[in-house]
């Protein structure tokens, strides 16, 4: 048994694409959800929670994409 299921290059590109695609999609998806809530009343607790959660999601998505770029640049 060895560590190599695939070559190191394939592994790195798998990590890159998987992370980049998921994080990028996540960023856009939560940004859209936040945008759709813009006219809702923020004093309603659930709306407030959603806005906060989607903002965190946007931040997490951005971190994911930045990490991938940092690895390759």
């Amino acid at each position: 048994m060895t560590d190599h299921i695939v070559s190191h290059t394939v592994f790195v590109w798998f990590m890159t694409l998987f992370t980049g695609l998921v994080a990028g999609t996540w960023f856009v998806y939560d940004a859209l959800k936040l945008w759709w809530l813009r006219k809702e009343d923020g004093r309603i607790p659930m709306i407030h929670d959603k806005r906060f959660g989607y903002s965190i999601g946007i931040f997490v998505g951005a971190i994911g994409v930045l990490g991938v770029l940092k690895y390759h640049l």
Binding site: D3, I5, L66
Partner: protein
């Protein structure tokens, strides 16, 4: 018939389901991945460890899907899923830190904050007077981030960058959720 399952803020249906159901079986099956994960890390097999983490993360998504297909969503299922997340991800993080694959301080911060969050949820359930789970949209995203962190740790992919950015984000979310669970009114709380 017992009281129907009910949860805070409309996150679960008002339907009684047994604890032994397909969705909970999928959730429980995630524990089976912990021994192989430990073996992979102990052997220094980064790719195998990443594969086991990936399967664990995938099963976390599949259990929700199975619950929808078999119509067996329940408050217990939600709590069991959250507990399983905590145990599986906590175990993986501790193992990775113990073997020096990831920095220790962010892992300690994550686990401490995770435990604090679990304590807050217990207090929230006590305030509500029933088994309930506070639905935190922000914490859901951080839990997904945690799964990713383990993958970054096993794959040695920008480990420091991803790990050191996590604790500040979690502090903000735990503080926000603490206010919601400890101070704000609980929907439908028993008098």
């Amino acid at each position: 018939m017992g009281a129907p399952a009910a949860s805070a803020e409309g996150s679960a249906p008002a339907r009684v389901v047994g604890k032994l159901n397909p969705a909970n079986a999928v959730t429980a099956s995630r524990f089976l991945l912990l021994p192989p994960f430990l073996w992979a890390v102990d052997s220094g097999y980064h790719q195998w460890a990443t594969l086991f983490v990936l399967i664990c993360g995938l099963l976390d998504k599949v259990d929700g899907l199975v619950a929808k297909i078999f119509n067996c969503r329940s408050v217990f299922g939600e709590l069991f899923d959250a507990i399983t997340d905590g145990i599986c991800y906590g175990f993986c993080l501790i193992i990775l830190a113990a073997y020096g694959w990831v920095p220790v301080i962010p892992v300690i911060a994550m686990i401490t904050l995770g435990l604090a969050n679990s304590g807050l949820r217990m207090i929230y359930a006590k305030r509500a007077g029933r088994a309930t789970n506070y639905k935190s949209y922000a914490m859901e995203r951080l839990v997904a981030y945690t799964a990713y962190l383990i993958g970054f740790g096993t794959g040695q992919f920008e480990v420091d960058f991803y790990f050191w950015l996590y604790p500040p984000l979690m502090i903000v979310v735990v503080l926000h959720d603490a206010k919601r669970m400890l101070i704000d009114a609980v929907p439908g709380a028993n008098a």
